[in-house]
Amino acid sequence: MKKLVLFLLLALFVTACGDPAVDVQEVEYRPRITVEAYVYPGEQIKDIVLTRNFELEQPIDTAAILLLPNVNQVNATINGVPLVFDPSTFTYYTNIIGDYNTSYELKVSARIDGIDLETSAVTTTPSPGFDLLDNDLGDLIYRENPANIKFTPSPGTDFYAFSIRAENATLDNFIYDNPFIPDLTREDLEDTFNDFRYQYNLLINVDSYSSVPLEYEVLGLDTWFYSNYSVIVYAGDKNFKDFVLTAKQVQQPDGNFIEPAFHLEGDGIGVFASAVRDTLTFNLLQNN
């Protein structure tokens, strides 16, 4: 009896040892049409990228990533006007000039891996009205002079994205004595340089009918270099907003993946959105 009990306990103990590996090789792959297309009022609708998704862990056939008219029997239209493939840029375009407050419907069909796929999406361009009040903020002292971006909104457009780019960032002009990440070394930075160089921030659900200009203050966490900065501001539609908010936020803190909020019906993933855009600059200086 004693031996049996001891054997049983030993067996349980052995079972409760080890460090099992996690192997996620066997995940079902489903081909998709990937769309990356934006409509800007006053601009020609162009630079439309149509690609396919690709399997993880498998060699990517770069030649087969782009969806080509002849290879993939691509048939794409915007508001019924066929898209034209530009072999020099590997993108599609039309001669349609985007207009304010207008809906555009994209339809794409293509054959991928012998499977006929279809997708469609609709975007509505913002109304006119978005305007940056000052496109050059001049010299600003780090953590003394905040970069306040003032703009009039586009009525009905409540989402604004700020692409904050340190244009001449180097390892030398990095702000090492920042209060947010102490003890960051030059070696640490070499691996993650671009993570600091390019930032973006968002204003969500602003009062787009405000009678006074709206403001956005570039945060300390957005500026990591003593550098010239460009801030491209987008007044984006619902598709733009949902894509930016969710496309790259698919993994939650507990490791689980969630579906992004794309607005493509059928077999499509990606973004078909519209925005009004404008650019502002400033020069960030060290406090002497």
Partner: protein
Amino acid sequence: MKLGSILIVMLLLFHLPVSGQNNTIDMSGFVFDKETGEALVGANVFIKELNYGGSTNISGYFVIPDIPKGKYTLVCSYIGFRTFSKVYETVENCDGCITIELESEALQTEEVVVSADSINTIDKLFIKPVSKINLTPAQINQIPKVVEADLLRALQTMPGIVSLSDFSSALYVRGGTPDQNLYLIDGTDVYNPEHAFGIFSTFNTNAIKKVEISKGGFGAEYGGRLSSVLDVTNLDGNRNNFEGVFNLSLLSASTTLQTPIGSIGSLSGSFRRTYIDQTLAKAIDDVPDYYFYDTNLKAFFDLGKKDKLTISFFNSLDDLDFSLDKDAEESLSFLYDWGNTTASVNWKHIFSSKLFASFWVTGSRFESNFDFEAVSLAEENYLSDYAFKAAAEYYYSTEMTFKFGAEQKVLHERYDQISNQQLIQIENNRQHSTAYASAVWKPLPVWNIEGGVRMNYFNTDTTFLNIEPRFSLKYRLTENSNLKFATGYYHQYLNRIQRLFFSSIWATANKYNDESSSWHFILGYQRAIAGDLEFEIETYFKNYDNIYQYNENVATDIKPSYYDNNGRPVYTTTNNVFKSGDGKSYGIEFLLRKDKGALTGWVSYALSRTEYEFGRQNQGDAFVPRHDRSHVVNGVMNVDLDNVWNEFSGDAFETDDSKWTLGLNFIYASGQPITVPGSAYYINTLPDWNSLTGGADSSPGYGLYPAAINSYRLPDYIRMDVSVTYEKDYGSWSIAPYLQIFNIGNRGNTWFIQYNEEFENGALKQEIEKVNMLPLLPSLGVTIKF
């Protein structure tokens, strides 16, 4: 109206004379622990000559109605106590006049094991409602633990109750989520009963007198949640002597003191506090300034034979002062604190020997505060309720008992989040009115049939009125086996936004989010084996209509209610915060349990499946939630090393003033479902990033697209814990140092996985970073009783 009519008829009925009662009389009274004066719940009381009786209720009260006048031998038994036997003569208007005091007896002694008068195992199983589990504080403390003894973690060792990880004490009961569990402490709701970001629960095991968890099919007296009820009763206090317990673990120090208040009552108080903020945090920079404490106070007043009054108070607080660099003059830092406060006054009154009633006035409050100045973000999360409750039991005859009651609750929810860019200001007052009535019918000793109905009226910005039928049946199949069945309809008007590390936010049903509902169907079989072994099989099915999950993409869907003077959007509703869907859970559970002798514990196996369907999520296909576990095996063993072999060989037990005890806990669970990336695609985060070589999110130019939801499972979870305790008695006090080893096999159970992608040899390779749960974790402690 229908329910109201039933209640009126029942109340009238209780005042009608019952035919044939003139020559009969009731015997009623209370059963107490002789040593402490604590009321004993569930003690078996019967008349030897008539061979029938009943059991004590939550107040230790019993009634044996409608017996012929005369002299009878009253026998009372309760596990762990010497069987009581005494001749009483019936008296008119007794109304609780009998007082039985049972003497405690060590569980392990041979006498108890073989005692013929003790309640039979099968009787004990028969009395127990369907899917209900009882645990004593001693059993909870004997289970090897993560540093601290923890009630909720102890319950996770039971079949049908699973956890999400080593870092969580939350209970997932039969496929339900933690917000579907009703936590009651002395009759008061507790919200977010979590310490240390959910690692521990707020229930101090030393303060507990009794714990019951109902995993489903619960009766009409409970409601408001879809899955389970955890009912915790704290110690009333020792009415005879001053006594205390002092615990010291690597994490905290705690004490529980009990004292009589003259001859009229007793007082108990428990206090626990962690001390790493005063020790490790001062020495090691990386250890944040963090502590938690909890306090339980309870006073019991014996106002006479017919009136008992208890006043209960509970308070807990977690406080974190985090600074990335404690020595720096300016550093990234935030403050976060949260806690619960509850209070209740309970008056129990015997209107007549047949009518026993309890009345409560309760209050409960949860509050958390977060302040992250660097990003100008502050949050206040508040939920409170105040309730008046009444519950009565009417012992109409030996065959029939009625239970009825009502509750009026006022809920106040408030959530404020302030940042430079937005304000969230949600504040609501809700009213929840309930009434219930049920009848327990015992046509024959082998039958126990209970039918009831509960009515809910929930008033928000709209109103909900729901009627919930409940039914259960118990049948003594053979001398050693029982068959049980229960069904019920349940509604829930609260939803919880669960957050990693941060306390959950509660929201109520409203015009945007309807109430949730669930039907339970449970069939059980119980068998007593070899006298003291309990064997149970239960199979269940429950559906969910309109349950809610937090909308992970909430930022894309919410709309402000208005804008403040600074132009900031202000959100005042929970519209689009939740996704609604349906689901179902089904499974079968096996439990073999032994509560007496030198070897105690249980072995269980649960096979289960839960499926959700949430609109277009997962292409509209059903999916299993993260907490689904196909197979779970639990083994809990507590061994009196001095006597275990004596018990098996039938030898007499050794009695000594010292004792070595070994505790073992083993768990196997199927791996946790998880959603993994299924493919990748080239795309830029922002249009102008097309020209860049990298992005701020470290994923330049491509995105990951998930595979089917939760279609992949992490490796199986297996863990074994061991504890060794040496207990030495020194007359009126004892000392028990202990060593515990959590995860003695040091198994690397996977908590979650993170991905680092890299283009390598023309492929997007995923380097999977496996983040494990707790490794081998030894801890020491000591318990001193006096």
